[in-house]
């Protein structure tokens, strides 16, 4: 090979790749609204993103798969946990994870910041990213089904969407706070106590790390029946 052809390889290679990359970048921005729903980026979403940066969440959690691999991916966390649970967890990590093998630091997130963060995570969860991460797709499906009428949804989807972010059952769900069948067997709650427990765990079992659940009476009954049925 001559020096001349080596030089040609350098310039042709570099410039052709740069041109393709720039053209694709222009197209990425043109089509961004359909993938990232840019029209839904409200002021609150932006404030929530600043909260996300402020507490350096991204060095433990991944989002879109990027960041620290120490804690769960947050891309679809909104579907996995829902608003109330996210707020409770980020404000009280030391209670929620008191028995966990990994801890989350108490960051001092305020109630307002937590709400903004939820807005950000809700917007993030709706990014059309080819259904990634794979393990969270079941929550997306279940949560979307739950948003419809509770009675029409398969019972397991309802429980998965409501409880699966922390509990497991029949080999589904995340099993951070125990398997529902084990928990059902190890406590003696009657139906009414179980419903009260779900809506305000600390009132029934002081010291419980479980966040209060924002459930309609109807959905709480369905879940209580399901759990008691596991006994």
């Amino acid at each position: 090979m001559t020096s001349g052809s080596a030089k040609t390889i350098f310039w042709v290679g570099t410039l052709s790749s740069a041109l393709i990359f720039i053209a694709l970048t222009v197209d990425f921005h043109r089509r961004e609204p359909e993938f990232a729903h840019t029209d839904k980026i409200t002021d609150q979403v932006v404030k929530g993103k600043k909260v996300w940066h402020k507490y350096n969440c991204n060095d433990c959690h991944t989002i879109l798969g990027f960041g620290g691999y120490y804690a769960p991916d947050m891309t679809k966390a909104y579907y996995r946990l829902g608003e109330g649970n996210i707020i409770h967890v980020v404000m009280n990590p030391e209670k929620v994870y008191k028995d966990s093998f990994r801890k989350m630091p108490k960051l001092g997130v305020t109630a307002e910041e937590a709400k903004d963060l939820v807005a950000f995570l809700k917007w993030t969860a709706e990014i059309e990213n080819r259904k990634w991460p794979p393990q969270d797709e079941k929550y997306v499906k279940a949560a979307r089904a739950k948003e419809a009428q509770a009675r029409e949804v398969p019972r397991t989807d309802l429980v998965l969407a409501s409880c699966g972010g922390c509990h497991s059952f029949e080999n589904r769900g995340r099993d951070v706070a125990g398997d529902l069948a084990d928990l059902a067997r190890s406590n003696t709650f009657d139906r009414e106590t179980m419903i009260r427990f779900m809506l305000d765990p600390a009132a029934v079992s002081p010291g419980s790390g479980m966040p209060p659940q924002q459930l309609s009476r109807e959905k709480a009954e369905l879940i209580a029946d399901f759990v008691i049925g596991l006994r």
């Binding site: 020096s3 390889i9 350098f10 940066h53 991204n58 879109l64 966990s100 990994r102 990014i127 995340r174």
Partner: protein, 443 residues
């Protein structure tokens, strides 16, 4: 035996970087402790995994960049056959860079962060680094401009340094849209390691090979053109392998997949040309350790960045492996092979010259090299096992997070032990580089 007085400034860059390297590894061990054991809440509250990770990764970037800067200041006078444009500017640059780094470390400990992985340094400190980078570019370009000679290595270095600084700017602003944010985050991270850094290190290594082997300059420059050309050809569009799951058009699967599948090609060429040059060297072997490093670096670069990267970036595989401990395995092997070993190669070329040593006692250096290379190989193997288990359990079988992640505690206890072994290798190497002394001539 340095030829130009101004080369001495490089020594301070190199020494500082050698102090940061072991610190980076100590932080890495602490991260493994976080994975391997359950830590008390009170400790996690004041020194979280996130803070430790920010320190681990920023120390890496800091010591690598210091090495690139020091290496550049070392070779530039020889390559330009004149003193540096300004030694004072080089000192000012070092003080600004080191000052920003210290302020960043202290800041991280108190939660002062931009909150973007790898780019945690807050904006005011970013600006200090930008000033340091501008001084660096000016000093490099003016030294070259005032030289009576022109060479490809000069141009590549100047281009690499400028490209590096320009890309850094893209990481500074706040983006409202997470998807855009990560689109451009990779312009810093990926285009650094697959673009700007390759230009700089390829030039530095070309210089070392040129001087140490006595191979003709024309031949070395020809390889340099072809390799950097292929690095940029595959690397620029190859950025797309980070865009599979961020919410971007489907064509990225193809562009990203095909171009990154080609990424091992220039590295394979690099292994081949390094091997040829070392084999055909005209000068007598003075310090075999330098050859060990040059060849070792090329091979490790090929496996860590090339082969590991190749499998990991194929879209159907990446769907399962993206953002898992498999990424950690690839990241460690690639950074160690492609960059840590390059810096150490340059140090082993430069440091003996500062002391005027022709042949040094290299026993401890050999121990350091082999201990680092072997332990890093096993460390990446452990990360790979942990990652395969994680993705298989959580993403393939779809069973709970807890089950998938609690298996890591066992593997990271092993990783901690191997990490300590790696640290031992690093301490040997750093100690050896600081205390180089002439070899005892056999009677």
């Amino acid at each position: 035996m340095i030829k130009y007085e101004s080369q001495k400034v490089a020594l301070h860059y190199i020494r500082l970087s050698l102090l940061l390297f072991p610190l980076q590894v100590v932080m890495g061990l602490w991260l493994a402790v976080n994975y391997g054991f359950t830590l008390p809440q009170a400790l996690v509250d004041v020194f979280s995994f996130a803070t430790a990770r920010a320190l681990h990764t920023n120390l890496l970037v800091a010591w690598l960049l210091l090495g690139f800067m020091g290496g550049t200041y070392f070779i530039l006078p020889e390559e330009c056959e004149r003193e540096l444009f300004s030694v004072k500017l080089a000192w000012l640059q070092l003080l600004l860079f080191a000052g920003a780094a210290v302020a960043a470390v202290v800041g991280f400990l108190f939660g002062w962060t931009q909150g973007k992985p790898l780019l945690e340094i807050p904006v005011p400190l970013d600006l200090v680094i930008v000033v340091a980078a501008l001084i660096f570019i000016a000093n490099v370009v003016l030294t070259i401009a005032k030289s009576a000679h022109r060479s490809l290595i000069q141009y590549m270095l100047a281009a690499g340094v400028t490209f590096l600084a320009l890309l850094y700017l893209i990481g500074i602003p706040f983006f409202k849209n997470l998807n855009t944010d990560y689109y451009y985050w990779w312009w810093v991270i990926h285009l650094w390691v697959e673009g700007a850094w390759e230009l700089i290190t390829a030039s530095l290594v070309a210089f070392v090979i040129l001087k140490a082997t006595g191979v003709e300059r024309k031949v070395v420059e020809k390889w340099l053109y072809v390799e950097t050309g292929l690095f940029l050809f595959t690397g620029l569009v190859g950025t797309g392998h980070h865009y599979y799951w961020i919410g971007a058009p489907d064509y990225w699967l193809w562009w990203g997949g095909v171009f990154s599948a080609l990424e091992p090609l220039p590295i394979a060429l690099m292994v081949a040309d390094t091997w040829l040059h070392v084999r055909e060297r005209k000068d007598k072997t003075v310090n075999p350790l330098l050859w060990t490093y040059i060849v070792g670096m090329a091979i490790y670069h090929f496996f860590g960045a090339g082969v590991w990267g190749f499998f990991h970036t194929l879209p159907p595989i990446n769907y399962y492996t993206h953002g898992s401990q498999i990424t950690v395995s690839h990241g460690h092997m690639a950074f160690f092979g492609a960059y840590a070993l390059v810096n150490l190669t340059i140090y082993y070329y430069a440091l003996p010259q500062f002391k005027g040593i022709k042949r040094y006692d290299e026993r401890l250096g050999q121990w350091g090299f082999w201990n680092m290379c072997l332990s890093m190989f096993f460390l990446c193997l452990i990360f790979l096992i942990a990652g395969v288990l994680q993705t298989y359990l959580e993403r393939f079988l779809d069973i709970g997070y807890m089950t998938a992640h609690s298996t890591m505690m066992f593997w990271f206890k092993i990783a901690l032990g191997i990490g300590a072994w790696f640290l031992a290798g690093v301490v040997m190497t750093v100690w050896h580089l600081f205390t180089l002394r002439p070899a005892q001539e056999k009677a």
